[in-house]
């Protein structure tokens, strides 16, 4: 046990003495802040909806000649009142609310044209689709005869919490996986393949340190460095959130999540880093040089990012809880559920346990590799 701390101390000392390494690890957070702030200005809903989908709408005082058209393209829903209907839009139960002025037919085409109000929820893709759809239909009638949403009402009924949840659950897993993997690739090859290449690993291997202690010491310290990178990236995301969402959400966005949410995300990040760093360490131990390790790790890096991206396709619907056991994919789904305020506690626990089991297997494999002369001393 003492030797594990000796190795960890040495790795920390080595890491913080190398300024380039520290910068490499902390840079992603700064980059994310800059890039995402810029992205916020061009970010727009690009999600697709089933083309046969009929948006659920509540319509007030629709002119007779439009009633038939709306019935064919929308699923008209009844609500006790306008306020109830708007609340349903906010909660995602209803897609849009269209309010025609009671004197629509009389004032259409006059000097004071009627204003049609369409309430929608920008955090819900179906609602955005419904809004676009109704606007397009109205636009075909006579655009100069009346106006749409000309009043100063708040037509987007999505709350900042909804927008944050929607966006974060979509981008967070992919983003974090990519950033964590880049943090891991910055430290693992250097610490393991680098030591092998420089001959300093052999110097440690002739000491009485148990190979499993060496493997654990390496993985724990490398996890800390990669976590630094992960935390820096996470802060970058949180701080860039208001700009990323184009002002839809203010600086209070980070406060939508509870302390518990943050702890759960942190637990997922730690377990993900453990899996990635231990996998990268095994590959680095196999490689003859840092360069070779980098080449061998590249496909793994792509796999990690793809697994992060794959969570986007689930869109919050995980068909079976067993999917959470799939390493990294399960973590991405668990992270996504936390970000969208719909945590699945069993899924969360399964993803963490699965990652820890995988990490333990990699540690044992790494210790075995440290024992193997063919791997450690191959020319």
């Amino acid at each position: 046990m003492k030797n594990i701390f000796t190795i960890i101390k040495k790795e920390f000392s080595r890491f913080f003495k190398d300024k380039r390494m520290v910068i490499t690890v902390l840079l992603p957070g700064l980059l994310i802040f800059a890039v995402y702030s810029l992205m916020g200005t061009v970010f727009s809903g690009m999600e697709s909806v089933d083309e046969n989908y009929k948006p659920k709408a509540y319509i007030v005082a629709a002119p007779q000649n439009l009633e038939e058209t709306f019935s064919s393209i929308l699923e008209i829903t009844e609500k006790p009142s306008l306020e109830e209907a708007k609340k349903a839009v906010t909660e995602g139960e209803l897609d849009i609310v269209v309010v025609f002025p009671s004197d629509f037919s009389q004032t259409i085409g006059t000097a004071t044209p009627p204003d049609v109000k369409i309430f929608y929820n920008s955090a819900e893709r179906n609602s955005v689709y419904g809004y676009t759809f109704v606007t397009a239909v109205l636009g075909q009638i006579n655009t100069s005869a009346f106006t749409v949403n000309a009043a100063s009402d708040k037509f987007d009924l999505a709350t900042g919490r909804d927008i944050t949840g929607n966006l974060m659950s979509t981008i967070m897993p992919m983003l974090m996986f990519a950033l964590l993997a880049s943090g891991c690739i910055a430290v693992a090859p250097e610490s393991i393949a680098g030591e092998k290449e420089r001959g300093t690993m052999a110097t440690m291997l002739i000491t009485p340190i148990r190979r499993v202690e060496l493997a654990l010491g390496k993985i724990i310290s490398l996890t800390c460095f990669a976590l630094l990178s992960g935390i820096s990236s996470f802060l970058g995301v949180i701080l860039s959130l208001p700009k990323l969402m184009g002002g839809m959400v203010g600086a209070e966005a980070a406060a939508f999540y509870s302390v518990g949410d943050y702890f759960m995300v942190l637990a997922i990040i730690i377990s993900v880093v453990l899996v990635i760093i231990s996998a990268f360490s095994v590959v680095s131990a196999y490689a003859k040089s840092v360069k070779e390790a980098g080449s061998l790790i590249s496909p793994l890096m792509i796999l990690v990012i793809v697994l992060g991206m794959a969570t986007m396709f689930f869109a919050g619907n995980v068909p079976h809880v067993a999917i959470y056991i799939v390493p990294l994919l399960g973590s991405g789904l668990a992270m996504s559920s936390i970000m969208s305020f719909s945590v699945n506690p069993l899924g969360f626990a399964l993803s963490i346990i699965s990652n820890l089991v995988i990490t333990a297997a990699f540690v044992v494999l790494l210790a075995f590799m440290f024992k193997s002369e063919k791997i450690m001393f191959k020319k």
Binding site: N3, T6, K10, G199, A202, T203, I206, T207, P208
Partner: protein
């Protein structure tokens, strides 16, 4: 005489890659690096392992240091097997070879502390040993300079000191004076004599005849992985000097004319 090292029928072969076959100019897929090596070393002696490049000296030393495993035979260091009791063996030996490097980012002071901890040396003993060894080799003057910024001689002194942080019974030196200037080489050879005087056993691998003649009590001549001669330096040099004896044995074994 107390036997510290006992080597019994040690064997080691390596598979040759196509590239290595080309380099070695052979069609054989396996190279026998060490073939049935048997010898002993005793407390307080310097045992020289003499041989040309590729004779199997370094492979033998790497097996004794537990970096690689033998294919056959065994070796015992103070009664501990290099095959089954690797960690016990590691506590009893110090190994200095150009293959083992120290991290450039660390200072000699840090490195001494780090390896003392790995060898389980308690802090007080480590501090005392550091003071004695650093002072003996003049390392205190550059104890806080990063290893990567030291000269070759300084690095070799630090490497030597680090290899014996745990005060081992058996010290294995592979070409310890290679690449050193005459002054540093003298410091190292003097230190080897001091270690012998302290009762330590030293295995010295080299191809420098003068070094063997100056330091060694007994010599093993190894050619093509086999021990061709094993005797005291006195007996080996009775009729001819060591160099002539070595070349005569080499020609007899390999059939090559020098």
């Amino acid at each position: 005489m107390t036997e510290i090292l006992k080597v019994e029928n040690l064997k080691k072969s390596f598979n040759l890659s196509r590239k290595q076959q080309k380099l070695e100019k052979t069609y054989q897929k396996v190279k026998v690096a060490v073939n049935d090596l048997t010898f002993s070393a005793y407390k307080g002696e310097i045992f020289g392992l003499l041989g040309p490049n590729g004779a199997g000296k370094t492979t033998t030393l790497r097996m004794l240091a537990t970096l690689i495993k033998p294919d056959g035979g065994n070796a015992f260091i103070d009664g501990k097997s290099i095959i089954n009791e690797e960690n016990e063996v590691r506590r009893k030996i110090g190994f200095l070879t150009s293959e083992l490097k120290l991290e450039d980012f660390f200072t000699p002071n840090y490195l001494f502390g780090f390896f003392s901890e790995l060898y389980g040396v308690d802090k007080t003993t480590a501090a005392q040993r550091r003071q004695v060894l650093f002072s003996k080799f003049g390392i205190d003057k550059f104890a806080e300079v990063k290893f990567g910024n030291l000269s070759t001689g300084m690095k070799q002194k630090v490497s030597l000191v680090i290899s014996i942080v745990h005060d081992p019974e058996l010290i294995i030196f592979d070409e310890p004076t290679n690449g050193l200037d005459v002054l540093t080489a003298k410091v190292v050879t003097d230190f080897l004599e001091e270690l012998r005087a302290e009762g330590k056993t030293i295995i010295l691998s080299t191809h420098i005849f003068s070094l063997v003649e100056k330091l060694c009590d007994r010599v093993g001549i190894i050619i093509n992985g086999q021990l061709i001669a094993l005797d005291t330096l006195e007996n080996l040099t009775k009729e001819k000097n060591l160099e002539d004896t070595f070349f005569e044995l080499y020609e007899k074994t390999t059939g090559d004319r020098i």
